[in-house]
């Protein structure tokens, strides 16, 4: 029979897990946005010598499972003597993985900004880089917001993968609860509800941001 009263003693464990999940999402999400913009700029404006290999590497990231990338980063590098903490490996792996997807979104968002914007900026005396920074990228960010937001929601769910590296996020902490209680259904169900709530919070925040962006169009 189901008995959810097994959960309250482990509320702290689950809450800590949720906190780590949020922290990973925020850090990896921020990395995926910043790196995504940089990648987009390099592929758009950088020298071919750099942009072409980068695009090749991007395809590798898109074409292989995230789990495999994390294993490579964590165990592969460890074998080569590079020891990274599991938490930071996870943040980096997730961040880079989603940066590759975000880069594509930012790239087309930058290209979709009207040419007249660059011309207006240049006519005032802004250099190309300053124009990108003050006018083109902010507008592209507004355009990219819904899709990048979607990616961030997927990223939130993908943080579960870090449990295999031993990062004490929601799933791993649930598993700890389960090994103490032998109650997988109750714990996994509770974790599912927590993910769902985090998701709702994120969608709410994104919706607010999107409405702000919409007001400017």
């Amino acid at each position: 029979m189901l008995d959810f009263s097994v959960l309250p003693p482990y509320a702290d464990l689950l809450a800590t897990g949720a906190l780590w999940t949020v922290l990973i999402t925020v850090l990896a999400g921020a990395l995926s946005v910043v790196l995504g913009v940089l990648l987009a700029l390099v592929t758009l404006y950088g020298p071919k010598l750099i942009s072409l290999p980068l695009r090749g590497i991007a395809f590798l990231f898109m074409g292989t499972p995230l789990l495999l990338q994390l294993y490579l980063l964590y165990y592969g590098l460890a074998q080569l003597g590079v020891l990274l903490p599991a938490f930071w490996t996870g943040v980096m792996g997730l961040g880079v993985h989603y940066a590759v997807y975000n880069a594509d979104i930012f790239r087309s968002a930058i290209q979709s900004v009207d040419e007249g914007q660059m011309e207006a900026a240049r006519s005032l005396g802004f250099g190309r880089t300053a124009a990108l920074r003050h006018f083109i990228i902010p507008q592209a960010t507004l355009t990219a917001l819904p899709q990048v937001g979607n990616n961030s929601i997927i990223l939130l769910k993908d943080t579960a993968v870090l449990s295999v590296l031993g990062v004490a996020e929601l799933v791993l902490n649930a598993q700890r609860g389960i090994s103490a209680t032998y109650r997988p259904f109750e714990f996994y169900f509770a974790v599912a509800v927590l993910y769902y709530l985090l998701n709702l919070a994120m969608e709410w925040a994104l919706g607010r941001a999107a409405r702000k962006a919409e007001a400017i169009r």
């Binding site: 007249g116 207006a120 240049r122 005032l124 005396g125 003050h134 507008q139 400017i216």
Partner: protein
């Protein structure tokens, strides 16, 4: 630099897109405080010429001077970038499609260039922007995003934005062509006000009446050459060239 030299001087301006030559050797002097209008059929090269003045278009041949400084200098690379950015800060440009920055309020549209390019403080730049918005009749619209403004209001903000850099000259490329007819006058009024303040201006326009009213000098262009030029009374009222007459007939018939 010297008051004797014209504010804007163009010499032998040529411009080709591939094998298509769209400017075929154009000369023009605009003295400080003078207003030159450029008229002509669509595709005659008016915009290309105007955009050559601040080098939004790169010319193939010729010389461009602003207040005694050569705009298309022989500098290259970074040095040229610095030079042209400085030159452009001294020339305001107003576009047919306004090109306001949609993610910034009217006030921010006007204040951002003096803030970022001239190192003015936010307070200083905003005070200046408020003065300019008031000047173009939009004192109450500072907080509005461009999407909330009418075409005429947008164009007036765009003029204020250009004026915020305190330019030596203003370039207008069909500033009222994208506007609903009832919004044209409010923009023309602002331009007339600038004319009264002795702003040096080059105005590409399809409004013959406005050109007649404000200009000291009118250029009629066709096929990349200046077909006829002179004071508005001559070019617009008593043109000597058949091509000018044909163009004016068509235009006044509308």
């Amino acid at each position: 630099m010297t008051s004797a030299a014209p504010m804007i001087r163009l010499r032998g301006i040529r411009k080709s897109y591939g094998s298509h030559e769209v400017l075929k050797g154009i000369d023009l002097d605009v003295d400080q405080g003078r207003i030159v209008s450029i008229i002509g059929p669509s595709g005659s090269g008016k915009s290309t010429l105007l955009r050559s003045v601040n080098m939004l278009e790169e010319i193939s041949h010729g010389e461009i001077w602003l207040d005694g400084v050569q705009v298309n200098s022989a500098l290259t690379g970074r040095a040229f970038e610095t030079h042209i950015n400085r030159i452009r800060q001294q020339m305001g440009m107003v576009f047919q499609q306004f090109n306001l920055f949609p993610h910034l309020t009217a006030l921010e549209n006007v204040s951002i260039a003096p803030m970022k390019l001239k190192g003015k403080s936010k307070a200083e730049a905003e005070a200046l922007a408020r003065t300019l918005l008031e000047k173009v009749g939009l004192a109450d619209k500072g907080g509005a995003y461009p999407a909330r403004l009418s075409g005429g209001q947008k164009q007036r903000v765009a003029i204020a934005r250009a004026l915020a850099m305190q330019p030596k000259a203003m370039l207008f490329d069909e500033a009222t062509s994208a506007l609903d007819p009832e919004l044209v006058d409010e923009v023309n009024l602002v331009m007339k006000q600038l004319a009264a303040e002795q702003m040096t201006m080059i105005i590409v326009t399809h409004e013959m009446r406005f050109a007649a009213e404000v200009s000291d000098h009118v250029l009629f262009m066709d096929g990349g050459v200046v077909v006829e030029q002179g004071p508005p009374e001559q070019v617009l009222k008593a043109p000597t060239q058949e091509r000018t007459r044909g163009f004016l007939r068509k235009h006044l018939a509308q």
